[in-house]
Amino acid sequence: MSDRAYEHIVRAEKLCVSFGKVRALTDIDLAIGRNEIVGLIGDNGAGKSTLIKTLTGVIPPSSGRLFIRDQAVDWNNFSVRRAHDLRFETVYQEKSLGEKQPLWRNFFVGRQIVNRFGFINVREERRIANEILQRQLGFRGVGIDAESTVSKLSGGERQGIAIGRAMHFDADLIILDEPTTALAIKEVQKVLDFVRRIKESGRAAIYIEHNLAHVHALADRLVVLDRGRIVANIRPAEMDLEELTRFLIGLQQTKHAGVAA
């Protein structure tokens, strides 16, 4: 396991992103501690996914600075690949797992344990996959093992597998893009448990979510985005769910007022 001798896994300073004339993000200042779960909330189009994509090298910013593990990032040298090397992992709603493939292949695909001729050490991959399933994810006695195929898992379990994979490959920052959307309540519970494991294991996470109750219950801090700006940093302990909801509705109203004016 990497030693995490840094203050912030990622810190943005005055980050701006434009698409042509459209300002998507304006002066984003955001610092995420090394073991912090940050919930990112905001209306559709507030800039949540643009922010995530900038932090993971998908979209280059138009200005601003980024620090990863307190080291300044050279934008010319920043890419999806680089973010991967810096141990940022994104767990997408779907599209993270091969449906018909067994879990051990899904854990290691792209990073297989191979000999120098490219042949996979299946026994080793299976062993480690079972270990991740049992130790890291707590899939014990539930009829799921390294040989199970993804198509037989529930939505929540799939998110768990993707999170487990990120943890195994020692991601220090795991980005969850609406992981509970379209899941049944029991499944949501599973995903929230998996996110708690990220916290327990000393890592950081950015958690994008529409459902306020879920983020509120889980995040150390909520960052509210509105029209490309960070408008609030909220500690869930200091604002209950109801107040939070009211606050966000208030934001909506100023937005409409703004449009009307």
Binding site: H84, G98, E99, G118, R135, G138, G143, K152
Partner: protein
Amino acid sequence: MSGTPMKQTAPMLARRPAFKLEGLPIIVVFFVLIGLFIGFAPGVFLNWPIYNSFLVTIPPMLILSLGLTLVIAAGEIDLSFPAVIALSGFLFAYVTRHFGMPWLGLAAAIAGGAVIGIINGWLVAVIGIPSIIITIGTSFFWSGVATVLSGGMSYTLQRLTGSAINGVFAGTLFGIPAEAFWALGVAVAVWFILNRHRFGEHLLFIGDSREVARVVGINTMRERIKLFVLMGALAGFASVLMTLENLSYFPTQGQGILLSALAAVFIGGTSVFGGSATVVGSFFGALIIGMLDAGIVATGVAGFWVEVIVGLVFVSAVVLHIGLDDPARLRLLHRRLRGRT
């Protein structure tokens, strides 16, 4: 990093059988078929010669169906291999006849297939044309090229009688035709590529979902080009086996093999949807397809019935497979048939 086991309702039932032999349903079909043949024509099927002739005629088709298994696993298709057989066979015959160097001819045949594969792969993976469309086009093109170059004429290669290359690829070892050993070797290699090699795993993920494959960091373009190159090279090799066995080259020698090789793959239980494939299944599928013709005739059924019976065996094998081997696929099929618009 330990944690308490996840809260969970009652443990679920085992989600799959404890032991599963790859391609089992088709292996059963294979032996049932042999049993039927022996029952109906003991005089033929209890003697060696018929098996000897199978071991000569089946290998080229078997090698093609092995290559196709990988192609179909990746969710692609290659219909241009009959054209590769025509062109690679020509290259082999031409180099052998005009330069007297059959080994160079072998290299030329395999390289020719590989070049056709590069072009197919490039059109599919880089330009983005569906492989079922583009390989129909390249198939016409290359078989046309083969006809033009050969002038539509066949080449006899009787001078290779007794040569080293003929012994290696069309001779016998312990009384068994050499082709059979080559086919078995290719089968083992392809099994390891698909099931134990990084390349095969990439193909499976690409066939499963190209989007997922990209997200997990697979270079889907490069891997698909490699795939078509491998298919082309295998077809080139199969072409040389055919040419050497007959000791002559016909521009039409790839014709009629297209459906047989595809049928072998699907009879074996490989999913047409990509993402899963069975090399063992294709192996026995090719044996079944290859045996049916001669077998049915030998049992005394009129030759007219051959295709009817081939069709019946094909359909029942595929249905049996879906029902026995993987009920999940039956559901998938249901969903696709109903859900597709």
